[in-house]
Structure formats: C-alpha cells, structure tokens
Assembly symmetry: C2
Homo-oligomer: 236 residues x 2
C-alpha cells in the first residue's frame, strides 16, 4: 500500500457480504410462506440484483432525485413480484425488501475488517443507505468506523461524487483513500477519481459464473483473495 | 425507556467527552512550546468554547452556508490567538485547531456505550463533523454504530433538521430515537422535535461552575449520573 493511504473504504454488496446466498435464503422463506415454491430463489436473487443498476441509473442520470437504496429495493421487488404474479401483503413486502439489510458476511470478512481496523479507519463506500448498512453491520458484526458512501454524498457509484465526497468527509485527499472492492467497474471509477484500489476476488458472488465486469480488469494496487489476505498484505 | 425507543443518539462534547480538561491539556502543551506560559489554559479552553455557539449561529441563521466544525474551530482559534498576540505557524495552528478531535472520554463513557450498544444502535448526534468524530472515536475507543448529526444533515443543533434528519437517516420515527445529552438546551430542542430525552449529569463540564442552560431544565424521560448509570437503567 502506498505510504500515502491513510484510510480504507469498502464496497459492501459482493465484497464484504454474500448477497446472492442471503437473498436466495430470504426468497426461499418468503415464497414458502405463501406456497409459491415454483419460483427459483437463486434466479429471483439474480433478477433482483439485475434491476439494481437500472434503478440507480434513474438517479445518476438526473431523471429522478436521489432516493435511498431501501426505496429502490422495494420498488424493484414490487416489479419482480408482479412479474411472477405473486400476491403478498404490504407488511411482508416491506420486510422482504429489507432482506438487503440481512446479508451475511463472507466467512473472512469480520476477521479481515477487525484486523484492518487496527491500523486504518475502515468506512463503507457503498450504494447502501445508512439504515441498511447499520442494521447489516449490527447483525453481522461488521466493525465500521463510519458509514459513508451514497447517502451522505447523495450520489450513487460510479458517480465521482460518491468517491470524492467520501474522501472529503474523511478530510483526506482522494489519493489517501483506498477503495476495497470485488468489482473492476467500481475500482476503475475510484481510480479515475484518484483513489487507490484494492481488488478482492469473490469467485462465488454470481454463483460461480463470470463477473459481468471482468473486461474492466486493470493492474490494481493490491489484488487479494479475501479481506484476511488484504490484512496480511498490509501487515495488519 | 418507552418501548417505542429503538435507537440512542448522543450529544458528544460535554456528554461523552470532557472537552475542558482535554483542551486545557492541549493548550498547555501548545503554549509551552512557544514560551507563552502566561496564558491560562483553562480560561483559554472556556474562551474557545465560548466562541462555538456564535460561530455556528452564522450557519444556523443562513448568513453563511453550512461549513464543518473543524473549519469553525480553526477560525475561532485564530481569533483567540490574535486576541492574545500569539505568534504561531500554520502547521501548529492546524494541529491545535484539531485538538477538538483529541478529547478524552469521561471515565464511564466507553463502558456505558459498550453496554448500551448491546441492545440499541448508538449513533452520534453531535455538531462535530465526521472526520472529527471518527478520529476522536478511534483515539478514545468510542464504539459508534454510525456518525450522524450535523454534517450529514447540514444543520447545527438546535436546528430541528439536525434531530429530524438523524432520525430519518436511521429510518425511524422521531419518537423512536432518544437523545442522550448533558445539556438541557439540546434535550429541549430534541423533545420539541418529538424525540425522547435522556439527561446525563456532568457537573464538571464547566470546571464545577453552573451550566449556562440550567434554567432550561425539564422532567426528562431519564435523568442519570453517567452512561453506565443509563445502561443500568435500561437493563443493558
């Protein structure tokens, strides 16, 4: 790590937590409750994740003011439930939409973050909103120093304001902040803003299929297999 | 505590940390370095704190856009150093201004917060900016779940937006959030916004002198002697 780096910012969905397994588990449970075992939960998780970027793009493009990810998750859930002709009451829908607050950490995440935190401030630089990140952190034991990213900057990655605003909130130069992420697209946008970039390989994020952004791979400042591996490389 | 309360938000300066002793210690050191032992450090701390509300009032009144507390602390430091005809270079001034990031917790604070955190999300609802709160928390071991308050709401207490915006970021109703503070003025403003209010008595905040807002005392939802006392009362 460059001597200039003084804080670590983390992508969360896919990098720190395993959204696909967790959303599949939640979908299994919600669909079982209403007798809709015909819907494949992993395919549902993938389809829900598939609506994530288009929903944020409405805000990034300026066609819609910034709204929190919890709200986008609820809207995309409603779209998918309609698509499957699912009948589900309001309270259950609201709870299902918050499944994104209940994602399990990858097995190395808590140990890796705990070790990294000894030396570096560790903050979220996620598109998840504050309440979502907070509930997820308390449930999974993620020891963030602060929850930054989209909501405090009112901008969704890869909008440069999300990266630059997070560095500004930390009162450090962009080059002093390192983004840790499993996604080349995210790291590329961070690097374009002047941040350092640490890649964490998550081959199971898409259930073993290739990542959609693999063509954006670059030589990153660090290339690691896990957050524990990153901690080792940084001497934490 | 009302069953409706689901999160605790904390005033920090005076409630969680002892600004007067810490700023006096810092002032002693900075003035000794330049041979200005004629300046009384405790009086300097009181004078610096005295410029805090007028500086924020410029932003609250709309005469000036919101700027972070770090910036106000630097400006009020410059004012005071001029008043004492102190000659001090830029790097030392910048470091001195950040003395507000290096305030020590009251002796009960870390244990109290750690216990309260087991049951409730604990967040800052301070006028301190994110970088200031983060450095203070890492230095003192304050285990916040999130750093909310002035910077994320772009409003200084007692502006209602600081309280209401913090509840909104947590995605809870104002009545579900309890402000914990040593200041009646802060609690009164929080109550006016619908928050619950827990008072923590800090008789040494002003070096043993009476608090300036003692005439604003009300019957608060909780009245406690320390954060450990609050944890006991809440069964944490």
């Amino acid at each position: 790590m460059s001597a200039a780096v003084s804080a670590l910012a983390f992508d969360v969905f896919g990098t720190v937590v395993d959204w696909r397994t967790s959303i599949s588990r939640e979908a299994t449970s919600f669909f079982a409750d209403i007798g809709r075992t015909d819907i494949d939960p992993a395919a549902f998780a993938d389809a829900w994740r598939g609506l994530y970027q288009p929903a944020m793009e409405e805000c990034r493009s300026g066609r819609r003011p910034f709204v929190r990810l919890d709200i986008l998750n609820r809207e995309t859930l409603d779209t998918l439930l309609d698509r499957h002709d699912v009948s589900m009451g309001e309270a259950k829908r609201a709870d299902f939409a918050r499944a994104w607050r209940r994602l399990d950490p990858w097995p190395d995440a808590v140990e890796g973050l705990t070790r990294l935190k000894r030396r570096y401030p560790i903050v979220t630089l996620s598109n998840g909103n504050i309440a979502l990140m907070l509930e997820m952190a308390r449930r999974g034991g993620l020891p963030w120093d602060a929850i930054l990213g989209a909501e405090i900057t009112q901008a969704y990655k890869p909008d440069p304001r999300a990266y630059l605003g997070t560095a500004a909130a930390l009162d450090i130069a962009p080059a002093s902040l390192c983004l840790v992420a499993a996604h080349h697209s995210d790291l590329a946008a961070a690097r374009a803003c002047g941040l350092a970039a640490a890649y964490v390989d998550r081959p199971l994020e898409y259930g073993g299929r290739a990542a959609p952004d693999r063509h954006l791979r670059q030589d990153w400042d660090y290339e690691t297999k896990s957050l524990v591996d990153l901690a080792e490389r940084l001497g934490c």
